[in-house]
Symmetry: C2
Subunit: 442 residues, 2 copies
């Protein structure tokens, strides 16, 4: 284990050494998409395939709808629910940026996963954070924005999408609309012959489907990229002859091994789930999220979902929300589904997440050594630490961290130059726990 | 004149005779974009160039953001302003559709512009109406939705965009940020050599720019289509070699004749205005509309603006709003810029619109014989009738009609199969006046 960690540290430190300063990568610093029109060398267009590439992602993640088709998630018509700030001391007041001076992140010190001294301000900075919101006992104790993010602007949630959509699926199951023991093929007969024909929804929710599909972002030949082209998440090259649209692509992936035998994190499972939910209800996920979450939460802003060019939703990573609404959702998860005077999700649905998944399968999965002792269940990551912390996570630094024992929720949107979470986890995971300890003992 | 009207009637009746029943063209009736995925023959994709084509436009006009890039117009964070229903009589109550039974449109009878008997229910139906909202003295006396429109969904406003953006420009001028007597070339130097180099903003606002550009939708070679390709409002054919983006396209149009000499309605003028406003303020029109209109109006829903693939806004016809927020804006125009307890627009800005434009130039423009005696000013259409009615208008049946004398505002979104307003005006213009008379005397 020590050897593995050392090798990981070497790889991570080498990768990070080549990166510029976070402050130098902001759209403002680079003139990116500034002006009418922007400078040609500072332009971000879909056809340039800059959605994920640094430094462009510091602009794209806060402007997804300006590059591609999206479906709106309506917040509902009422007054937004309260997200109250921590009561101010006499000597302090909110600043224009919304940063409350009460919590000094630089004072929260800890040791990172590689044994190096760190503090939470460093954690925020080195994640190329676009926005950070910390709730303690339901009060906002810290809120900051950088780069292109604004309180009212939606940021790409990446795979936190899975955690949000997962709760819609679990809630639908709780209501009897879906059965988690039924197969995906039962709901979507076109999946016959694919890996999902005989996989249960629970297999999908827990990422234990046996499917020939690689999510290695560093491998240009990996199926994750082929699938992205099918869904036009990236521009298709001239003469492209692959599947057109997510649904057509999903039907092409074949079974490999047995379902339930291994934890293998694969975004296509979540896309099949979104398809199942839409097919079973007749309502697409964007509208289900509105009905089941955003409206009852009293969301402050509409959210939206990326669409392929055939109208299908990017169910594994295409949700974009405001930071504040992501925090509201996290607070509902902390409070057994209750938020703003409403029971948004059934308590059983949240309790089931916190029960966790199969820790042995998780331990056997080589990619997640940094979440030691954890598990994955219903599209959430469980730490199984002493605080019972669990999280939604997305590549490039997205995080929704819920610490029940410390009564803390942290929502972070970021645009790190590198996709994989191992480049932010070493600082982030112990940093969020340190923050929880500081607030708990505060 | 009588001959002209008869010839127009013949052409209009012949064109309309070939159309199907409005009820048969709804997405529900045709299965259009229903299901996951929709039937292949009922699919609407951007690449199919179905945005404007009937019957597809009954779906596309309510789902623009699902087909192309858009910029959000934030409604602001507060409680939506009231849009109160007319107090109910004991025997009536609002139905699920939001239709109040008080106003029976079929009982409002009149003679259309071609001398045929008509009623307002017929006017609504034959316009392929997606949504109609009637305000009288600030109360909702009628609200209905059809096809794909919902109260919370945004519909393409087409050229009502001009009336909204025009008020932003006029308000900026009132505040001293812009000068309407300055030239567009003064604000956007790249327009040197184009028609707009020496045209004043007032020329643009009044559509009296001399520019070689045809807006004849029935002519496939007209510049309006070339410009649409440049802005990727339509899919570009393989090997497309024209300008890329609205801004690049606008620079190519040359002067023809003298500015101020004729009223010639050309959407490119409005796009130049949006460019000027963005350049002068450093804020794009979507955000200016949010700051100057949607936030102070207390809008109920976000709006949005279509973008080209270089991030430039479709300033002449790309705004999409909810019907209710369009009505709020109209009510502010009726009430001298005042709405919901706020002075949204300076009274002088609204008074200037109502003063009207050059009626002689308007009378000399052959295309608008159906608005006899009217004028065009600051991107609004003035009837100069006894009620002082004025309106925003858009192709395919969009209308925002304000009748000060009758204290009436009508917002209508529609998806007529034919673009030109002459196919809806014969019923609509006298119909709205008849409705005003009915409410005034009612």
């Amino acid at each position: 284990m020590q050897t593995t960690l050392q090798a990981l540290r070497d790889e991570v430190e080498q990768a990070l050494a080549g990166l510029g300063e976070p402050e130098a990568s902001t759209p403002q610093a680079l003139g990116m998409m500034q002006g009418f029109p922007p400078r040609p060398d500072a332009m971000v267009r879909f056809e340039q395939d800059r959605m994920l590439a640094a430094p462009w992602n510091r602009w794209t993640f806060s402007h997804v709808r300006e590059l591609m088709p999206t479906a709106g998630v309506w917040r509902g018509g009422g007054t937004p629910s309260a997200l109250p700030a921590q009561p101010q001391t006499a000597s302090s007041g909110p600043r224009a940026t919304g940063v409350l001076p009460r919590l000094d992140l630089a004072q929260v010190r800890y040791t990172d996963l590689f044994g190096r001294p760190a503090d939470c301000a460093q954690m925020v900075r080195q994640a190329y954070t676009d926005g950070l919101l910390v709730l303690h006992r339901g009060h906002v104790v810290h809120e900051q924005y950088a780069g292109e993010l604004r309180p009212e602007r939606q940021h790409l949630a990446m795979s936190i999408t899975k955690s949000v959509f997962g709760m819609v699926v679990a809630q639908l199951a709780h209501e009897g609309v879906l059965s988690l023991t039924a197969t995906a093929g039962h709901y979507v007969p076109e999946l016959a012959g694919s890996a999902w024909e005989d996989a249960t929804l629970q297999h999908l929710l827990d990422m234990t489907v046996g499917v020939a599909y690689s999510e290695d972002y560093n491998n240009a030949e990996a199926e994750v990229w082929r699938h992205a082209l099918a869904g036009r998440m990236r521009p298709r090259p001239p003469g492209y002859a692959g599947p057109m649209g997510f649904y057509a692509s999903l039907r092409t992936f074949r079974k490999q091994g047995e379902h339930g035998a291994a934890f293998e994190y694969k975004t296509v499972n979540s896309e099949v789930l979104a398809w199942v939910a839409a097919r079973a209800t007749g309502i697409r996920m964007a509208d289900l999220v509105s009905q089941k979450l955003w409206q009852p939460l009293g969301a402050e802003h509409d959210a939206y979902v990326m669409l392929d060019d055939h109208g299908a939703e990017a169910g594994g990573g295409g949700l974009c929300t405001s930071l504040r609404d992501l925090a509201r959702f996290g607070e509902a998860m902390r409070c057994d589904g209750h938020f703003g005077g409403r029971q948004v999700l059934a308590p059983e649905v949240v309790a089931e997440v916190r029960r966790g998944g199969d820790r042995l399968l998780f331990a056997n999965s080589p990619a997640y050594t940094l979440i030691e002792g954890g598990s994955y269940h219903n599209q959430w990551w469980l730490t199984h630490n002493a605080h019972g912390a669990f999280m939604g996570r997305g590549i490039f630094g997205q995080n929704l961290y819920i610490d029940p024992a410390a009564e803390m929720v942290v929502a972070r949107y970021a645009a790190h130059p590198l996709a994989a979470s191992r480049y932010t986890d070493p600082l982030t995971l112990p940093g969020l726990h340190a923050l929880a300890l500081a607030l708990r003992d505060g």
